[in-house]
């Protein structure tokens, strides 16, 4: 497994954790990755499966499969985060297909998506998390574009800003969003 050319400090650390798991060192590396990703994996499970119990099952199975396939992880091809969520999609799909996977603790405010929307759900969650990481100024202009479908001029008028300022914020905001997604292991350049 190569961990050369890994861009960020965090990605490098996590690649080393997976490398340790691949050598049989399970306890601390798995615990550390659990600490970093369990919340997001669980939220993904809740969104996709619509059930807390099934989401718990999914989280557990994700780390089992991570252990099982750790030797195949290649940091040159992607981040640990991206790898984990590839696993999560597969596990969620398997859990959904089980005849016995009836919701036991349905989440009142979540409707399980159709099977072919799982990827879209995951992407949307990633975008939302990326947006949460932006500065308020960047987040607001992007939100107005996305949720209210405003043009740059309309945004300038709404916020009482010069048009040039809005354009600048959109430029930097979109790039900051891309950085935030990359940091979360989501490559949005393809």
């Amino acid at each position: 497994m190569s961990i050369a050319h890994v861009e960020t400090q965090r990605a490098r650390e996590e690649a080393e954790l997976v490398a340790k798991i691949a050598t049989g060192d399970i306890g601390v590396p798995v615990a550390e990755l659990y600490n970093r990703y369990s919340d997001r994996l669980y939220r993904f499970g809740v969104q996709v499966l619509g059930d807390a119990g099934l989401a718990e099952e999914m989280v557990q199975e994700c780390f089992v499969r991570l252990w099982r396939t750790a030797g195949r992880f290649d940091a040159d091809r992607g981040s640990v985060a991206a790898y984990l969520f590839v696993i999560a999609r597969s596990v969620a799909s398997d859990v959904r297909r089980r005849p016995s996977s009836r919701p036991l603790v349905p989440m009142d405010d979540v409707q399980p998506p159709q099977a072919d929307n799982v990827d879209r759900i995951l992407e949307s969650m990633m975008v939302r998390e990326g947006m949460d990481a932006l500065s308020p100024a960047h987040r607001e202009v992007l939100r107005l574009v996305h949720e209210e479908d405003l043009t740059q001029s309309q945004i300038a008028e709404r916020l009482g800003l010069p048009l040039g300022t809005v354009k600048t914020r959109l430029f930097h905001g979109l790039r900051a969003l891309r950085t935030a997604l990359i940091e979360r292991g989501f490559d949005a350049t393809t």
């Binding site: 798995v30 718990e56 099982r68 597969s90 009836r102 969650m125 354009k167 969003l177």
Partner: protein, 296 residues
């Protein structure tokens, strides 16, 4: 609008508005006319378009949710990984369930993918099947076909039953270690005269369980008894259970049976015997016997 310097680091001021679809109509028309003759703008558009498409297509129906996993999920997850790793070390008895995340490497050592299935009594899994030895005292012991499994008979001393989907029961015939053993006295959960005990001995590849029950009534053709290992975190909505097997009881109301499990009684210290029916929702699961471990 002043002439645009395409050589600026930021590129054209409208490129981001263009990819996001946020340009006013006049600006959009102007950019559309400009871009085909500007390599910088084309490069910027190519670079930003995938992200912009992702951003545009992200659904607002994904409501932000502040739910967090239960605190004990960490312990259960780490235990499950550790358990799977231990089983993987137990060769040659164990068979992989099939790794769906990638192709097998020819000649590679099989890795056991069996993992304990933690489920609540309400959840029935029709895919898992396991078998146990026959009962000794007048009742027919048979693990029901509620679950689908593949069973491989091995040479003397070793056999393995492999479950697909949610659970595994591992069969070995090696002598159990005398170093680690537990007794689980079972008492009637809701009064009555039923009782039992389980003796759990640690073996190299799991736990050999000898279960004896007395005073159980025949629950009829549409129901059976199921043995569960219960973890300390088990509570409504947060299952912490491993199914150990199902059995029926004859007129004597008594039976002794042997089971194998990878569930460590130290992690799942309570045993329950529940009355259930196949294909049901599990809502009518009724605990008959219950007890917790004590060291022998």
């Amino acid at each position: 609008m002043p002439p645009h310097d395409s050589n600026s680091k930021r590129g054209h001021p409208d490129v981001v508005g263009w990819v996001l679809g946020a340009l006013d109509p006049v600006d959009a028309k102007r950019f559309a006319k400009h871009a085909p003759s500007c390599a910088t703008c084309q490069a910027n558009v190519s670079e930003l378009e995938p992200l912009a498409r992702l951003f545009r297509d992200s659904v607002t129906e994904v409501k932000p949710t502040a739910v967090k996993p239960p605190v004990d999920l960490r312990r259960r997850t780490l235990a499950r990984v550790e358990w799977a790793a231990r089983l993987a070390d137990a060769e040659p008895a164990l068979t992989s369930l099939g790794d769906r995340t990638g192709p097998r490497t020819p000649g590679a050592r099989e890795q056991v993918t069996v993992t304990p299935r933690q489920i609540v009594p309400e959840r029935k899994n029709a895919e898992l099947d396991s078998r146990v030895t026959r009962a000794q005292s007048g009742s027919t012991m048979r693990i029901s076909g509620r679950r689908r499994a593949s069973v491989r008979a091995l040479s003397l001393g070793v056999a393995a039953a492999v479950a697909i989907g949610i659970g595994v029961t591992v069969w070995v015939s090696r002598p159990a270690s005398a170093n680690l053993a537990f007794t689980i006295p079972l008492h009637a959960a809701h009064g009555g005269t039923a009782s039992g005990q389980a003796y759990a001995n640690h073996a190299q590849t799991g736990w050999s369980i000898q279960l004896t029950v007395r005073g159980l009534r025949d629950v009829g053709p549409n129901r059976f008894y199921e043995c569960w290992y219960v973890g300390p975190g088990n509570r409504p909505g947060h299952p912490d259970l491993i199914a150990a097997g199902t059995f029926t009881i004859g007129r004597s109301g008594s039976a002794t049976m042997r089971m194998w499990s990878a569930a460590d009684p130290r992690h799942f210290p309570t045993m329950q015997i529940a009355s259930e029916q196949p294909g049901g929702t599990g809502q009518d699961s009724h605990v008959i016997l219950s007890g917790s471990i004590s060291a022998r």
